[in-house]
Subunit: 547 residues, 2 copies
């Protein structure tokens, strides 16, 4: 029996659209190692939802087993759920200096104290329960990113995290391919690898490639104010923008809460370098001539409340866009955000600014490995088994097709799906038990895993609005039916007709005494009429008042 | 005075995001020429709206002036508003055989009879009021597409419509560059040109390029059922898919209403060619072996009700997807549809199908001219003035930057915007009078140009739901306050507390007798509590019953 329990289980919790990203669990006997605890953005089908975190009830139920949480890097989709998880679980967290600085900031905002945050450096090896975890430097679109080499009682797992291969990164710290080659040589049972760019052929460009184009843009816009938007966490990008600004004698103002916070954080731990005197407060840029200023801003995804979006709507007091501005969007669109971003670009153009964005200039590179990089990783790691992670189903499929090209039989590959665990040892990999592993929706201050009815109602209201009718059952003569509609427009004539029909039905001899029956009748009457007259199907709520 | 009135005015009606696309008016003295009458899809900010048409009140107000409507081609964004416009206006319509077949079908569905549809052939010259219109063959992603050479009393206007330059089109009818060169030589006052691909460098690929890859896919999938999704109106694409199917001895079934309709229409007028016996009804494919069947389907944009989307949700009785299917999406994403399309792809993969789409294979070419084609057009037409049309603001700006490269001063270019007309003659081009030119929203059977409040309510309801409270003012003891919420979840305890607070406030000595005052008080009380406890701001509707 004991032997039967000691399987090595891999489990995937949470994710909207993408799978195997927000949270991964490794369980063996009485030990659970958690990798990442991130959040997702809600889908179009989740109106009003702020964000989505993994359903981590399995962790709560097995609290005594949870030996620790390792974070691969400091992006929201890998750390965003920690304030929730750490409120419920008292476990140590391990990660890079930058990642933990971001985690610390989050926990502070959430007023969670005394958490065990343990900084690990590249090359460090730690024990988490029965798991040995080695941290290997990788490149990505932020700094302090690690792949994990997890030695388990059943074999070695190489978990890439989000990664790319950059031979010429800004900090001269390329991915540690030498160590990866060694690990591959000593035998890896299972590779779990980032699939985000598995559809893209070739190699991702080096972050360094951005500089030449950025520099050109600064040189071409000597008389303009320059506003560059990028992800705050893209430390090397921010560094390159700062370097350009300094070279062209411009002061730098950070704009947007996360940009200001992360720039400070990264400076403090020495990962972002700039002369302090080059920085001006965004509130004090009024005194600086346009041609001596560079604003580095958030808002590359057209997020409604971000600094750049508000600038584009003339709703950002500190920066009023005009024809003396050149705005550079140094980022690409996350699928689903295209329209929001294009709205920002169109509006900036309308306000007279010149706008530079990826469709017309190469001012961004991806942080994820493309097909040739993925092949290189297969080639070095030489795993027996493969689980593609980080991506939509289509990306995971493409990564498996690469695995096949690299000689890994399809039977040795498994696509992770919510709701299952994967059992793996040197003999085989199989889909195994069910695990509670869905999503928890954060809706204002409400955190819920039971939201389907709520969301169905919101979608219904969004498309067709609602109609409420209030009937004073026993005093219809003095209190005629009230009809209230929002999100659907009922013409007066139709409203009168409806009230009349209702009275007629309610005063019939044979009218049902049963409240539910009356409600049902009213609902049908109104629905039928509105579908016929308006071709709309609003939510209909009849209320019967008894007096 | 008379002379002052006889300006040549160009006006742009309608459009969501894109400008100068759905409907363009040319007015001189007592003559109005209308070019196109199309629809747009609603933006994310228009929940529940079916589609959007130009506000054509200006045409109704000036009915006697409207000499005719010329349609450039049969795409929805150019003809979709005709059933509305022709219900209100009795004017002749001119267009190609295919475009008018599509218009005729639309009018039939809308039960509009006896309309004056006049087929024009390439090279035809017609008079519409004081305007002479010549129809010049262009290439695009459907057939029967014309550019217009409009001779006005003030000078010649060349209007490209949607176009690309395809030297090797499937019907061997390339764009008539010779005639375009002649027109350019004889002097063009104003060029109005498609801007959709003004961000893309180089040339668009020829439609013929698709064939080789399609053929390869058919050859590689001999034992599979092949399902190809494309736009029904892309006649040449459908033709190439048919040619492949016939070559590989497969029967062809059309799937999706518009595919079935347009395939029949195009066959009837001779623009689509196939052996009748190769076609099988989609309801009768059960008898045909998988490896002898090719289904040509709608649904490339992930439209919720389309055939392919329903197949991907196992909700299309006629075609149940499985691992013996290869699905080819021969189209690209219209911005904003990315997530819907990727959902379809992910779901098809999950059902076991192999999926081929643009990110991983070249099975689509654009129907719009890229930068080198646009330059060629500038070079042949040599216009004095330029108005970029068909595109978002960013595309129009890029087209103007091309115009500048081609020697047209920026002062001679105007970006069309809703709400203005443009006056042009050989001496100059200026932005002129205001014109009523917004959008009309089609919401079920309701057609309205006054929807901002309605949409604001829907957006509010979508994000935060609503709370209704019903107070029987004079019988609070027998009828305690009723509280109803949808789209926001109020815990029982909070609901009880709210009711209690309301009673407390309502039974205070000094309570206001004014109904509006009481409502305001209740609204504030509930809003404050829900924001504090739930961090949500639902719509709050207090109802006071007087009895």
């Amino acid at each position: 029996m004991a032997k039967k329990q000691n399987k090595l289980k891999v489990m995937f919790l949470g994710g909207v659209g993408e799978i195997g990203k927000n949270m991964t669990l490794f369980e063996y006997g009485n030990h659970i190692l958690v990798v990442d605890a991130g959040m997702s953005f809600p889908s179009d089908q989740m109106p009003g939802i702020d964000f989505v975190i993994p359903d981590y009830n399995y962790l709560i139920q097995n609290e005594s087993k949870v030996a620790g949480i390792v974070v691969t890097h400091g992006h929201e989709d890998h750390i965003g759920a920690l304030p929730f998880v750490l409120r419920d679980l008292d476990v140590p967290v391990y990660g890079s200096k930058l990642a933990l600085a971001m985690v610390g900031h989050k926990l502070e905002e959430a007023r969670i104290k005394n958490k065990k945050l343990n900084t690990v450096n590249e090359g460090d090896v730690i024990n988490v329960g029965c798991f040995q975890v080695e941290f290997i430097r990788v490149n990505h679109s932020t700094t302090g990113c690690y792949a994990l080499c997890i030695t388990t009682p059943r074999g070695v797992i190489f978990f890439t995290g989000d990664f790319k291969i950059d031979h010429t990164p800004i900090d001269n710290k390329p991915i540690d391919l030498t160590r990866i080659a060694e690990i591959g040589k000593s035998g890896v049972m299972l590779l779990m690898m980032d699939s985000t760019n598995a559809e893209r052929s070739g190699f991702s460009m080096s972050e360094r490639c951005v500089y030449k184009n950025l520099d050109n843009l600064f040189a071409q816009n000597l008389d303009k104010r320059i506003i560059v938007a990028t992800f705050a966490s893209n430390i090397h990008r921010v560094q390159q923008i700062i370097n350009c600004a300094v070279k062209y004698n411009r002061k730098i103002a950070f704009s947007g809460r996360s940009m200001i916070n992360i720039a400070e954080m990264a400076y403090t731990i020495g990962e972002l370098k700039y002369p302090r005197e080059a920085i001006v407060d965004i509130d004090k840029i009024g005194k600086i001539p346009y041609d001596k200023l560079c604003i580095i801003s958030t808002g590359t995804q057209g997020e409604p409340m971000s600094a750049l979006t508000r600038m584009s709507q003339n709703d950002f007091r500190k920066v009023v866009i005009n024809e003396k501005d050149t705005v550079i969007l140094s980022a690409s669109a996350i699928p689903g955000n295209e329209k929001l971003i294009y709205n920002v670009i169109n509006n900036l153009y309308r306000m007279g600014a010149d706008v530079i964005y990826q469709s017309i200039s190469e001012i961004h590179v991806s942080g994820h490995a493309c097909r040739e990089e993925l092949k290189l990783m297969f080639s070095l790691i030489k795993p027996s088994f493969f689980i593609p992670i980080h991506g939509e189903y289509r990306h995971l499929k493409q990564n498996i097709s690469l695995a096949k090209e690299m000689g890994i039989p399809e039977a040795n590959c498994i696509i992770p799906e919510l709701g299952y665990s994967v059992d793996v040892d040197k003999k085989g990999i199989v889909r195994s038990d069910n695990v509670p592993s869905g999503n928890i929706l954060v809706d204002g201050s409400v955190v819920t895993d039971d939201s389907e009815m709520l969301l169905r109602d919101r979608r219904h209201l969004a498309g067709d609005g609602f109609v409420i009718t209030i009937i004073s059952k026993n005093s219809l003569e003095i209190n005629p039916p009230i009809l209230i509609a929002r999100g659907v427009r009922i013409p007066d004539k139709l409203s009168d007709d409806l009230r009349e029909s209702m009275i007629k039905e309610l005063t019939k001899d044979k009218v049902d005494d049963d409240i539910q029956g009356i409600k049902q009748m009213l609902r049908k009457l109104i629905a039928k009429s509105l579908l016929k007259e308006l071709k709309k199907k609003p939510m209909i709520i009849p209320i019967i008042i008894e007096n």
